[in-house]
């Protein structure tokens, strides 16, 4: 009678009791008539696909991989993993040029950085946007993330001696966004950690976490990045370092997507990889202190990114923000912003993307905060473009409020 022990399935798909709860929480099912929804695309479809790959449905590409279905499922079915694994396994279409470009965030970053002012000016031009729209199906209504002229890596390298002097050390996986588009977030993190007596080191040549590649049909390339990153993280961990991050999506990808989707074993490093918010909260809980400005005042509305909700760590950001004396805090209702990495950039997804985010945008306008706080870079682009309110990472708010 070992039967039950041996019938566990990949991504828990046999646990599905067909309760339909997931269908109530999928943002895409609500707005895109072509998408079959988490239940049909996930566990229902998997039963058919296991019989015959013929049943693979290309409409699975509309899944945002936001994981909201998994957070809601009462039976622990890894619905989104089922869907993404099926795409990896059965989707034989080579990705379009546009998708490859959108997916290669670090490659594009390296290319664009030396020409940042030009690239930024050009991607802002109406003509360019129209051209991108026509040639590449990148929606012309999007604003592009700006490229920064100097990389974060260069900035931190120049300060490596000064950082090494701190009694405690961590390594920082900054990700493509901080390196190429927004070094300020990295600098803010260094400021906060330094205030806690912690010095910040770079990893030994990190690569893009690979999430955009997974989303754009380039799983093999993503797996290479994953293996590389696990090795690099491993080196830091073996030196006794924790590795902190400021992006919820990079973190979820490296902790959970590596083993679940890309089959890359990360067990040696998984527990040492933390969002910086969690690392900082835990330090404070152990007795460390931060001194905040007496004159700081800000009305902050906090949006939990989908991937942070899945990680279950939004609570650390919330607690840190509430701790700052001058912060007037509002928790925004749980809602996907609709951007989901590169998804919203694609012309065919623009309308859906905006419709998904609409309730969030309305709530933000109703709260009318000074700033929206959020731990995800793509949510930031989407919310800033759609509401006009500035968006800051909780780490940047902490840094700003420090004495």
């Amino acid at each position: 009678m070992k039967l039950q022990e041996y019938t566990t399935s990949a991504h828990n798909f046999e646990e599905c009791m067909k309760c339909t709860v997931c269908t109530a929480y999928c943002p895409v099912l609500q707005v895109n008539p072509l998408y079959p929804g988490p239940k049909q695309a996930g566990p229902d479809g998997e039963r058919l696909r296991l019989k015959d790959p013929y049943f693979f449905n290309y409409a699975l590409k509309y899944c945002l991989n936001c994981k909201r279905c998994e957070v809601a499922c009462p039976s622990g079915v890894k619905v989104a993993d089922l869907i993404q694994s099926a795409r990896i396994k059965y989707d034989t279409h080579p990705p379009k040029l546009r998708d490859q470009m959108l997916a290669s965030t670090d490659f594009m970053g390296k290319l664009a950085r030396p020409f940042a002012p030009i690239v930024n000016a050009v991607t802002d031009l109406g003509v360019t946007k129209k051209t991108l729209d026509m040639v590449l199906d990148i929606d012309h209504r999007r604003t592009f993330p700006k490229y920064s002229g100097r990389s974060f890596e260069g900035w931190l390298k120049r300060r490596s001696k000064e950082q090494a002097a701190f009694p405690e050390q961590v390594a920082y996986f900054h990700g493509c966004y901080v390196n190429y588009n927004y070094p300020q977030l990295g600098k803010d993190l260094v400021k906060v950690l330094n205030a806690l007596g912690v010095g910040v080191q770079l990893l030994d040549d990190e690569k893009c976490c690979g999430i955009a590649m997974i989303a754009n049909g380039m799983a093999r390339e993503a797996a290479k990045h994953a293996q590389h990153n696990v090795d690099v993280l491993g080196k830091a961990v073996s030196r006794g370092l924790k590795v902190v991050t400021t992006s919820s999506t990079c973190t979820l990808t490296m902790r959970d997507e590596y083993p679940e989707l890309l089959k890359v074993d990360n067990s040696a490093v998984r527990d040492s990889l933390l969002m910086a918010t969690r690392f900082i909260y835990e330090k404070l809980e152990q007795g460390a202190t931060l001194k905040f400005r007496a004159d700081y005042h800000k009305k902050v509305a906090y949006h939990t990114p989908c991937h942070l909700e899945k990680l279950g760590w939004g609570v650390f950001s919330e607690r840190l923000l509430r701790m700052i004396p001058g912060v007037e805090f509002t928790m925004l209702a749980s809602n996907c912003c609709g951007m989901s990495g590169t998804y919203g950039f694609k012309k065919e997804n623009y309308e859906a993307s905006q419709a998904i985010g609409a309730p969030l945008f309305e709530q933000i306008k109703a709260v009318n905060p000074d700033v929206v706080a959020c731990d995800c870079e793509t949510c930031k682009w989407q919310i800033e473009m759609s509401t006009g309110y500035p968006v800051m990472n909780p780490i940047s708010i902490l840094a700003e409020a420090l004495e």
């Binding site: 309760c19 339909t20 709860v21 109530a24 008539p33 072509l34 079959p36 622990g76």
Partner: protein, 374 residues
């Protein structure tokens, strides 16, 4: 992270306990693996009648409107059941002869509403029924490839319910009552009432297959209230282990927070029954997975179920053992600061009622015990 009380399970029982404790100035967290039985809620709180003052106040502060009187309510398959405390959109009738003529309206392509069963059931009571299907361009989207479920329709209905009212006006002949599926008022709770006011016939909302729109609305209202009171809701996280020393639990570990334990003075177990995985079973035993509590069930597996499938099944009543104050029991020893509430009690405590009544009564009972402590 430290709290006064950590509640495992964010269903009706867990949320009622959380709200009541926050209201009393306590600092609590709710950890919930997934969504809960409210997603299958009929809109009727089994085994409750008139709410007492504090339940009425709690519901009203959360924006949940309820009512009760003696009588019957209409079930999704056209049968009638004795009334209990219900959400306002659920009608309570003096008896089953609820109308003379009824117009039953469904949406074209929506398969989770059983109009012909309803008609058959109503006709048994001498009620004439006519079924009509509504086709709205705004809903064609939902039909195309994806699933057409109650919640998708409800999201559209929050916007376009007035169109539905117009269409029904045109359909109505001499019917005195219109029966509609429960797909209204998901985010705008005033919609069911406004539909009732805008039609020249009585409007009755009848249940659909899950997900339950009134149930999800109730869940959203309770969660919002809890968070507004400063409660910490850890959605999608699973309590996996408790750390106990001499009958006292100090902290629990969760799946997402791994080595970051949730510490508290007291713990409430509200993880539901077999359906919600608060209890688990294998061919040899039925167990409670987090703390390994004693579960009240017969040794011999053959006694767990009734081979007549449609009959009442004994396993549905199994639950964790407790003392009279609902302290949980492990290997015969009472845990001093762990309490069990809601459907994980099965019918081990019949004095507290059943269904939603059990969830609410047991939650308040434990809150009282906790607040009475020093």
């Amino acid at each position: 992270m430290r709290f006064d009380t950590v509640i495992m399970g964010g269903g009706l029982a867990g949320m009622i306990a959380g709200i009541a404790l926050q209201q009393a100035g306590k600092n609590t967290a709710i950890v919930s693996m997934g969504q809960n039985a409210l997603h299958f809620f009929s809109g009727t709180f089994e085994s409750l009648k008139e709410p007492d003052e504090r339940l009425a106040a709690l519901f009203s502060a959360a924006g949940i409107r309820v009512h009760y009187r003696e009588g019957v309510r209409l079930m999704p398959l056209g049968t009638f059941k004795k009334a209990a405390l219900s959400l306002e959109d659920i009608d309570i009738f003096p008896n089953a002869k609820i109308a003379r003529r009824v117009l039953i309206v469904n949406f074209l392509g929506y398969h989770d509403f059983f109009s012909s069963f309803l008609a058959e059931g109503l006709e048994k009571h001498g009620i004439e029924c006519r079924i009509r299907f509504l086709s709205l361009p705004d809903l064609d989207n939902t039909k195309a490839h994806g699933e057409m479920r109650s919640v998708q329709i409800a999201r559209s209905m929050d916007r376009i319910w007035e169109k539905v009212v117009q269409e029904i006006r045109l359909m109505l002949r001499d019917e005195d009552t219109v029966v509609l599926p429960q797909v209204f008022g998901l985010s705008d709770t005033t919609v069911p009432g406004r539909i009732r006011q805008s039609l020249p016939a009585r409007v009755v909302f009848a249940g659909t297959m899950p997900p339950s729109v009134p149930g999800i609305r109730t869940q959203i209202q309770l969660r919002r209230r809890y968070q507004l009171l400063g409660g910490t809701f850890l959605m999608g996280d699973e309590a996996i282990r408790a750390h106990e020393h001499e009958g006292v639990v100090h902290s629990i570990a969760t799946n997402n927070l791994d080595a970051h334990y949730l510490e508290a003075d007291s713990f409430i177990l509200a993880t539901g029954g077999l359906f919600s995985k608060g209890l688990r079973s294998n061919p040899f035993q039925i167990s409670e997975p987090i703390l390994g509590l004693d579960v009240d069930h017969p040794e011999n597996r053959n006694n767990w179920y009734n081979p007549a499938f449609a009959e009442e099944q004994p396993y549905m009543g199994y639950g964790v053992k407790t003392d009279a104050q609902l302290h949980a029991v492990k290997e015969g020893v009472t845990l001093k600061n762990v309490y069990a509430i809601g459907s994980i009690l099965g019918n081990t405590r019949p004095e507290l009622g059943s269904g939603a009544g059990l969830a609410i009564n047991s939650a308040f009972a434990v809150v009282d015990t906790l607040l009475a402590e020093k």
